[in-house]
């Protein structure tokens, strides 16, 4: 009797997923590449798509507005990921210990992760709104500070960084906590017997063993923060002026407000390219190895 080919069965079983992935993931991706090679502005005199090859990408290299939003996004990403990583690590270490009300604290603490960014932005906007927001009110009442995210660039930045840290530090904490819990106790006990102090244990044992988790967490957060859009849109709308207009918001406006589908698509692909490059650089920096190395 002829045996069935297990490979064929495997392909049959995963084919529905591949089909969905193809329709929902790959088709839009290739369509964006296609549109990115066209000039397609709904309001231009000549209607429809006009093939322009790589002209959109050439324009992007000299587009100061795009480059400005990109550099702002990189600064934002660096700031929030660094703060979230440090805070998340400290909190994960705290949660490794037992204390009264730990379960309750952990439940409350992770709630922001499940809130949609648009709702986070709306909530923070309400809290910081001039006239009726509690944060400007109390800052003014108790400290005499004028806190106005619509008028001060610095305060707008503080607000969006705080919002992002509040929203995503719990996620970083959870992933690092999972990593810490998975570290075997034996090497740490052995190091302790050998007389290693606390700093040496973290430097030579815990952090190296935690590195894969840190790397994954940083990758996820870097990718997320580079495409921040909804919460910033709600809180500052990119202002004051264009000081908090990040690249995601700029692409959104180019495509949906300006209806420049071709140029907007090329921007999206450029940001994707930057994201890959940054992740690759981070990988090398954190592992100290070349890209062929495996963790």
């Amino acid at each position: 009797m002829k045996k069935s080919n297990p490979n064929r069965l495997g392909w049959i079983l995963i084919s529905p997923s591949l089909l969905i992935l193809g329709i929902a993931g790959l088709f839009p991706f290739f369509y964006v590449i296609y549109v990115g090679t066209h000039s397609w502005n709904v309001f231009s005199k000549e209607r429809g798509k006009v093939f322009v090859g790589i002209q959109n990408y050439r324009d992007l290299v000299f587009d100061n507005v795009f480059l400005g939003t990109l550099s702002r996004t990189l600064i934002f990403s660096f700031l929030v990921v660094t703060i979230e990583l440090i805070l998340g690590f400290i909190l994960a270490l705290s949660l490794m210990r037992d204390f009264k009300g730990k379960t309750f604290f952990r439940t409350i603490y992770v709630l922001p992760v499940v809130v949609a960014p648009i709702a986070v932005g709306a909530t923070w906007r309400l809290m910081m709104a001039q006239g009726h927001g509690p944060i400007p009110y109390f800052l003014n009442k108790f400290f005499g500070w004028e806190f106005n995210t619509g008028a001060s660039t610095t305060q707008a930045w503080i607000a969006i960084v705080l919002m992002d840290v509040w929203h995503w530090t719990p996620f970083v904490t959870l992933t690092l906590l999972a990593g810490l819990l998975a570290i075997p106790k034996e090497p740490i006990e052995a190091a302790s017997v050998d007389g290693a102090n606390r700093v040496q244990m973290y430097r030579y044992l815990i952090l190296p063993m935690l590195l894969p988790v840190i790397l994954i967490t940083v990758f996820i957060r870097v990718m997320d923060s580079l495409r921040s859009m909804e919460d910033v849109y709600m809180l500052t709308n990119g202002g004051p002026g264009s000081s908090t207009t990040f690249v995601g918001l700029h692409i959104f406006r180019t495509v949906f407000a300006k209806q420049e589908y071709g140029y907007g698509s090329s921007m999206s692909l450029m940001v994707l390219y930057f994201t890959i490059v940054i992740c690759w650089l981070l990988f090398n920096a954190l592992t100290g190895k070349n890209s062929k190395s495996k963790i």
Partner: protein, 487 residues
């Protein structure tokens, strides 16, 4: 476990609450019929056109007139015809992107969309819209006896093409007025104090200097009272600030049509966006921020309305669609019965003559219509709804709720006249002074130019660049964009 007595009580409570629900449903359904017009004809037409049971989908802005359509007109229409109308009321920018993406991609999701007067030229150029007047003329079953294009004010002309065919049925029209607080302006102590300081009477400003003095005065007077001298619609990151500047402020200093002339914005090319008059007006407007409440740099037209209603500003440019609720709705407004309307102050007195002669205008005449996308799968059914909302009989309550007027006859309705008294003559003002205001220029590149100019305006508001630099850069960017688009 519940004992029998408790169970009986619970059952009784359930029956009572169910009855209450049914009664409230009945009462709301009878209320919803209040906007009815020639219902019998519409019921027959819906049958004949096979619209009964169908659902049409629309999108509009979440404004007082839009909310009235949803709460009153649609229920009455549904009751009369057996059709369903699914209307999304959303934010202004969301509304546009939804409508344009649908019409551009020809997906046919929407059967009617809100068309603002300033965007119709883009829609007509792109053949987005069905020809409403021709469709009605070609189908006798679709011609409602109670609907007549000629009953509308001349505002309907905005929605006609070069052949005079109509592509949108007006649903709102209003002017952006100079609103001021009558209680403050008429307060004897305040008047005396103002006169002592400025050697003139405290009356609504007629020019920039007077406006600024009043703003300064009330900002000083309002310290510790949550009161400032003026509203400013100066949000950054949202085109509302662009619109206040280009449609309400620059015209008062003689810069019309956004300072664009024959597709050029720079003075070097024949435009006036970077002219001295434009820069003076812009500097005046940005200067008002010192006298505006702290929320002004986050204020779109909606927040300007709420700021005024909260009693936080003594005067300001406010969209007329908000006047009715600001002046009469005690649940939402703290300045009920304390609102006056006047012509906006001018930077250049010759603007008034220009406005009277038709050469220019001194403010913005805003409004919109419902149009039917050419890609709709229910064009006839959608037009049936447009005729319903365009009946003379549904206009008066709508005008009272949303301070909008699209038909001359609406001004004479007792409901509107009563509201006119309550709003200190807003409706009379719109009727008599409306011709001095004008809608946006007929630019098919409206959105594209706005999007390249607006960031410079935002940066000037934020203080990152001077108002003069901002207009210089904006004019150059506008010229480049129009060239790029082929105009």
């Amino acid at each position: 476990m519940l004992n029998i007595r408790n169970r009986r009580s619970l059952a009784l409570a359930s029956v009572i609450s169910s009855l209450a629900l049914v009664l409230s449903a009945c009462s709301s359904s009878s209320d919803s019929g209040s906007a009815s017009g020639d219902d019998a004809w519409f019921a027959t037409a819906a049958d004949k056109l096979e619209c009964k049971g169908k659902t049409i989908k629309g999108v509009t802005e979440n404004t007082p007139p839009g909310q009235y359509v949803k709460s009153d007109i649609i229920p009455a229409f549904e009751k009369a015809t057996g059709m369903k109308v699914d209307l999304e009321t959303t934010s202004w920018d969301e509304m546009y992107s939804k409508a344009i993406n649908d019409m551009e991609a020809k997906t046919g999701i929407y059967d009617f969309v809100y068309i603002e007067q300033d965007i119709i030229y883009q829609y007509l150029k792109n053949n987005y819209l069905a020809n409403i007047s021709k469709t009605i003329a070609d189908n006798a079953d679709l011609k409602a006896p109670s609907f007549d294009f000629t009953k509308f004010t001349s505002f309907i002309d905005n929605f006609k093409d070069a052949n005079g065919d109509v592509f949108g049925v007006p649903m709102e029209a209003f002017v952006k007025v100079y609103l001021y607080r009558t209680d403050l302006f008429n307060d004897p102590a305040i008047k005396d104090s103002f006169k002592a300081k400025y050697k003139r009477d405290l009356v609504p400003a007629t020019n920039y200097k007077e406006y600024k003095e009043i703003a300064d005065f009330f900002t000083e007077y309002g310290k510790g009272k949550d009161l400032w001298g003026t509203t400013v619609q100066a949000v950054t990151g949202h085109p509302a600030s662009f619109y206040e500047l280009f449609e309400s402020i620059l015209p008062t200093n003689g810069v019309y049509n956004w300072g664009i002339n024959n597709g050029k914005a720079t003075s070097a090319n024949g435009g006036s966006m970077d002219s001295k008059a434009a820069k003076d007006a812009f500097a005046f407007w940005v200067g008002l921020l010192k006298d505006a409440p702290p929320e002004s740099k986050q204020s779109t037209w909606t927040e300007v309305g709420t700021t005024f209603a909260a009693g936080r500003a003594a005067q300001g440019w406010v969209y007329g669609e908000n006047v009715a609720w600001i002046a009469t709705d005690e649940a939402k407004s703290k300045v009920v019965g304390k609102v006056g309307v006047a012509l906006p102050p001018l930077g250049n007195p010759k603007v008034l003559d220009d406005s009277k002669s038709g050469k220019g205008y001194l403010g913005y005449y805003d409004g919109g219509a419902f149009g039917v996308p050419a890609t709709s799968k229910n064009i006839n059914c959608s037009i049936l709804f447009q005729e319903y909302q365009g009946q003379e009989s549904v206009q008066a309550k709508w005008a009272a709720a949303g301070s909008r007027i699209v038909m001359e006859s609406t001004y004479d309705d007792p409901i509107v006249q009563e509201m006119d008294t309550k709003t200190n003559g807003y409706y009379t003002f719109m009727k008599e002074e409306g011709p001095l205001f004008r809608g946006a220029p007929p630019y098919p590149f409206h959105t594209a130019v706005r999007e390249v100019v607006a960031p410079f305006i935002y940066d000037a508001i934020a203080g990152k660049i001077s108002t003069s630099d901002a207009l210089d850069k904006a004019a150059k960017a506008a010229d480049a964009e129009m060239k790029k688009l082929g105009y």
